[in-house]
Amino acid sequence: MKKIFVPIIVLVLFAGKGFTQFKFPVMEKYKLRNGLEVIFADYGSLPITRIEVYVNTGKKNETPGMQNISGITAEAILNGNTKWNRIEQDNLLYEMGSGISASSNENYTNISADFLNKDIDNGMDLMAAVLLHPTFPKDEIGEQIRSLIDYNKPSKMDIGDLANVFSDYFVFGVNNPLGRYFYEAQLSRMTPEQIREYYRFTFTPKNTKLVISGKPDREKVKKLIEHYFADWTAAYGEVNGVSFEMATIKTKEVAFVNKFEATQSALCWSKKGPEAESKDAMPFRLANSVFNGLLFDTIRAKEGKTYGIGSSYNRHTGLFNVTTQVRAEVTYETTRSFERLLKEFYDGGITAEQLKTAKVKMKSAVLAMQTPGEFIDFINPMEYPDYEKRKMLLEDIEKMDVASVNKIIKKYFVPDVYKLVIVGNEAILSEQLEKLKELKKIPINAIETNGDIH
């Protein structure tokens, strides 16, 4: 009897239970009188409030000579403010079991923290001080720049990092902010006053969105926001309209950077994908998910060439990059494997079964969210300004069919149209490099001199 009983129970509890519909919270959005946009979107059941600030400034705003000023400023606003120096601020955060993180990308800067609801008064006070009243102390900035220089000398950097840096350099060129990288002589000239000026120009209420999630006491948090942020004024008040020129890739080009003593090679292929808001974006992402699986199955699992390989799509640049690190001896073979895979994918497209798996994986990424931070990433107002449209993501995924995805593969996964950067040890690779036609060599110090590609 027991043996029969057990499977019945199991069947009742688990049979046929698929994904339930994701319940999106109602979003409340309003603007303070200074133009700061405030967004509330509750998520989760714990007594925690998540605060995220998005400032519309990033690498796109970096003028020649000001490389990485967006990243330095993001970090530097955590170095102390008119209310607390860095040590006092960090002590307060520590006591609340919290921490603030700040970072920037091509398009925007993000500052975020979680606070227990019981600590929200102090938390909001602290976030406001960090965002509105940073002091940019000279000594702290100096130390920050010194460590950046020490950790980012091209001759000492990891080959994977170098491949990414030189890929941007190769794809965008030095006339595009995305193609320029920071270096010692340039960073050494950067002054706290320049950072302050950059901050004053870009960190403005009209240029900023404040997102609250978790399970906040909404009315209380609204009052706190009004108290701390409504009187925020800025010398420059307009929305940042700067953008960067998208890259064009029309042929196959391969560049090489010599990294002395490397025992591996890092490879980074860049291809043009769709613009983030275009109709092509959804079928492209599904296609790329399948392509990722093929890269893993072939180059890692079957051929054992690498520990990791992946194709990632950057919605800011509209590019997708395949990156990997392999032992030096198989560098050329890896380029051949990639080309073969790309051609097979282009010629053969995907099957209904592959599309089904890609859809499930993409939907799971939404359905598996747990934290308010993950939810804010999902509704990120800088990337997805239309929440109602974003809410339709699961339905939009489901609408995709094999034909529409295969059409996109023919458009974006065209063989022999990519830019590839290889970073490795020329002394080991010379014979393999000879097999690569019209190889361009980029000196490792090119990013420090904005030098030409030979």
Partner: protein, 434 residues
Amino acid sequence: MKQALIFVFTLIILTGVAQDYPTNSRTLPNGMKIIVCEKPGNDFVEVQVWYRTGSKDEVPGIRGMAHMFEHMMFRGTEKYPGNSVFKLFDKVGAQSNAYTTFDRTVYHEYVPVSALRLAFDLESDRMQNLRVTQEILNSEREVVGEELRNHLNNWYGKMDADRYPLLYPTGHPYEVNVIGHLDEILSFTTEQCMNFYNNYYSPNNAFLVVVGNVQTDSIFTLAEKYFGQVSKQLNLKKRENVPDVASHKLLQQELPLDFPVQIYSYVYPRPAAGEKDYYALNMLSDLLFTDPNSILNNRLVKKDYLAYSINSNPDESSLYPDVGVIDVIMGAQPGNVKVKRAIREEINKIAADGLPQSKIDKYIKAKEATHVMSNYSAEDIAYYFGLAEYYFNDYKIASKEIDEYRKVTNDDLKRVAADYFSEEKLQVINIKPD
């Protein structure tokens, strides 16, 4: 009859409120413990199978086998050959992975509730039916070799590899780093792999943690169905006569570095999890070195700008007495000896006077807040349960551990500072560019 008696005995359900959700456990007749936490939220479940094996179980010639084996566990059985584990998890939208440490190998997946049976089936199948073929081993050895080379092509990873042989006395279970030796990895045989599997993978050398939107009874039923039929039994014991790390003298105090920074690596003995001074020493090293607002972070990094950062390995638990390593990273420049002096000065101060009670109180308060925040992630909750079950044989410790920290007194901190951080026991390796 004998079997029935065992079953009745193990049906006694151990209930606790570890973390903050209802949590229960049951031990199957084959010795495998099942821990279930009913965490509300989405329709996904974290499933973790913890094996009590890691690099501690390796011997010369098979260094790196525990980690290699973690990879092989994704490479097929009779029923699910090749890459089936990855493929099947992909099909249902699950994320799966694994990791290996000195002490443990943990397989974890975040799966939709609807795919729980699949997860249990795959895990129980690879617990007993793994098939290692030469062809798959050949490619996976290269994959693991690349993982190691990635580590060596990173300046910090290379430094870590160069430093590691200095840290432990010969014969200590942790004397070789988890990743192992490249030459040995590249020549592993299928026989060596299967020997490791046969010697260390069994239900009574493992336990299961399930956290998510599930019902405890249904999980127990599923576990009984899938894991209950795995009959393999191993009689594994903790090693005795482990060489003493406290009296181990570093073979070298200097190392060259091919990177433009200087590192003082502070090396000190650490008790095994739960042993005397375990909590006091954890608290002291956090407060002195590693917390974001630690005494030395505030002084050396934020106030005097003498160091860029202070780093340490966050996993504090170990089965055997271990060594702690804390890296103080500075610009490579003359005058860094000031850093050493400052560190010694702060240690001596604590050894003599202790710490302000307010600092200890804030430490506890921060731990309480962190505990609440860790309740969001099913993976984190399963991890804390797993650590507690592994090292204390009681998953409920996960929510009680803070009480142990509350018991630490200022006198404990003074004593521990004077002992573990004495000039004799706290050794320093000076790592800098040639």
